[in-house]
């Protein structure tokens, strides 16, 4: 088994992780800076990707050993029998609508005052059939609206502020830094779909391929340990997070001071992911129930 010999030897194991240039991955950058990965015998390379789903083929092909992506992508992959496993927590909702890093916004003068009003309206989300769609649906349902009648339209986060201002959509699900960008321009935060839908939702996770897990179980363990340290460090040092964000994103230092940060617990909230999986089945995105336990890398 070449994987185990590699990790068994003295030199650090080279590991490439696909990440997205957003606030959520700040811990891994911080952790690299702090030397957590080195300590665990990992020679870390970070590859920026445009989105979590785009990294999946790379992980399957073995280009990346790990990738950062939202949990619904992993669930979806699981539903299609794609061999992916969640390794570690990525980013979570803060559980408090007033401090969370994402939410649904409407124009200041919009007649929409409750999530229930979204029934029959057009809502922009960044990816259809993904975590944002199901959590918005759940939010509408919880408020007493008809989740099936919401019209979703796919729009990149960067395009959402203009779409709301131009009245092209009625509402938009945004995350930082666009949440700050819209609300500071007068748009109104209608609610937080993450906290509304599921308690303490794990929004994103680091995942690997089944094959890599099978062949390099100890590297995965080392990686998990390093990530957990990083997450903790990030959670405890928000100022350092705000300082590092402008170094790997195009978010300016000024904006980085204002944005809301996600929560970075050390463990994946398996219940919340299971809830996501159930919501996905409920809203017809997956045809069968996915058992999240099977998607975890329990090595």
């Amino acid at each position: 088994d070449p994987g185990s010999t590699a990790s068994g030897s003295d030199g650090p194991v080279p590991v490439t992780v696909a990440v997205i240039p957003i606030v959520d991955v700040a811990p891994i950058y911080l952790g690299e800076q702090q030397g957590f990965f080195e300590e665990h015998g990992i020679d870390l390379t970070l590859e920026q990707q445009s989105g979590g789903a785009a990294a999946v083929p790379g992980v399957v092909a073995g280009d990346f050993q790990f990738a950062f992506g939202n949990v619904s992508s992993v669930v979806l992959a699981g539903a299609q029998d794609l061999p992916l496993r969640m390794v570690a927590e990525g980013a979570s909702s803060t559980g408090d609508p007033s401090t969370d890093f994402g939410g649904v916004v409407v124009a200041a003068d919009s007649p929409i005052t409750s999530p229930a009003d979204l029934a029959g309206k057009t809502v922009a989300i960044n990816n259809l059939k993904n975590i944002n769609e199901i959590t918005v649906r759940a939010m509408v349902e919880k408020a007493g609206g008809d989740p099936a009648s919401v019209k979703f339209v796919e729009l990149g986060f960067p395009d959402m502020p203009a779409a709301i201002a131009g009245g092209k959509v009625d509402a938009a699900q945004v995350v930082e830094p666009f949440l700050t960008a819209t609300t500071s321009q007068g748009d109104r935060l209608l609610g937080d779909n993450y906290t509304d839908a599921v308690d303490d939702l794990t929004v994103a996770a680091y995942f690997t391929s089944e094959q890599y897990l099978a062949e390099n179980a100890d590297v995965v363990d080392d990686f998990r340990a390093a990530i957990e340290e990083s997450l903790q460090y990030a959670q405890e040092h928000p100022d350092e997070v705000r300082a590092i964000v402008p170094t790997y994103t195009k978010i300016t230092a000024e904006v980085a001071q204002q944005i809301k940060l996600p929560a970075w617990p050390q463990e994946i909230n398996v219940d919340s992911v299971q809830a996501v999986a159930e919501l996905m089945q409920k809203y017809g995105i997956t045809s069968e129930a996915v058992d999240v336990e099977e998607l975890l890398a329990t090595s």
Partner: protein, 261 residues
């Protein structure tokens, strides 16, 4: 008898390569084992259930409508502008850098700007198609118009055939072989841009469906979509050949007249 033989030969010629390629794909993919390259048999069995359902009306039809509208607009715009620029040197010199500027900008980054000006509905998607498909027509029209035979041009001028008549009887027909080449390019580009335009701010369409399949890891469905795209392109190219044969009858006659058949 002779004619049957000839038709048979043409049929064999037309089918041989596709059959070989499909067979190769079939046997290779049957053992590929790669998640992203499912067996062709799986793809084909998905094909029917995926497309011959309500998707035909919900996704394929809107796509094709946008495609046709966008393509036709691109042709009209490309020929119009191309003739204008081809006949007017000062205008061509003035406009060319700006046009080249737009030509080099990837449609995906233009899309946010389009949203600003054209909204996120069908208009924007048609504009995306036009913004990409217009160039081959335009460029070919410009070059075709510039290359009009001098003697013929002199003939027209001396007989007072100017303005609109010149355009209709001299410039357009003379440039038509090149314009048609451009139109043919534009057709497949339109299809490509139809897909790209549906990647953004969309809720239906063939491209949208393919992207969704890709994102939700429904790989056989995605491949079936790509095959459908190819089939669509093939069908449109057949239609186009009919058009070309009619509109360039003289040209093909002229070029073949002395080949001895």
């Amino acid at each position: 008898m002779h004619r049957f033989l000839r038709a048979g030969r043409a049929l064999v010629l037309a089918l041989a390569l596709p059959v070989v390629l499909v067979a190769a794909w079939w046997s290779w993919s049957a053992h590929s084992g790669s998640y992203y390259f499912p067996p062709l048999s799986t793809i084909l069995s998905t094909f029917g259930s995926t497309w011959f359902s309500d998707r035909l009306g919900a996704d394929v039809l809107p796509s094709v409508t946008r495609l046709v509208v966008g393509y036709l607009l691109a042709v009209v715009l490309g020929v119009g502008l191309g003739v204008l620029l081809g006949t007017n040197r000062l205008l061509r010199r003035t406009a060319e850098p700006v046009l080249e500027f737009f030509r080099a900008i990837p449609p995906p980054v233009l899309i946010p700007v389009l949203f600003l000006f054209a909204g996120i509905g069908d208009t924007a998607k048609v504009v995306v198609i036009v913004s990409g498909a217009v160039w081959p027509v335009l460029l070919n029209a410009v070059e075709g118009v510039r290359a009009v035979d001098e003697v013929l041009s002199d003939t027209s001028r001396s007989y007072g055939i100017t303005g609109w008549a010149r355009l209709r009887h001299l410039v357009l027909p003379a440039a038509s072989p090149q314009i048609v080449a451009g139109m043919r390019q534009a057709l497949s580009i339109s299809i490509i841009l139809m897909v790209i335009s549906e990647m953004f701010a969309s809720s239906n369409g063939l491209g949208f469906a393919i992207i969704q399949f890709q994102r939700s890891f429904a790989i056989p469905d995605m491949w079936s979509g790509i095959i459908l795209l190819g089939l669509l392109g093939f069908a449109f190219s057949l239609l186009f050949q009919l058009f070309e044969r009619r509109s360039l009858r003289w040209y093909h006659g002229l070029r073949r007249s002395q080949r001895g058949d």
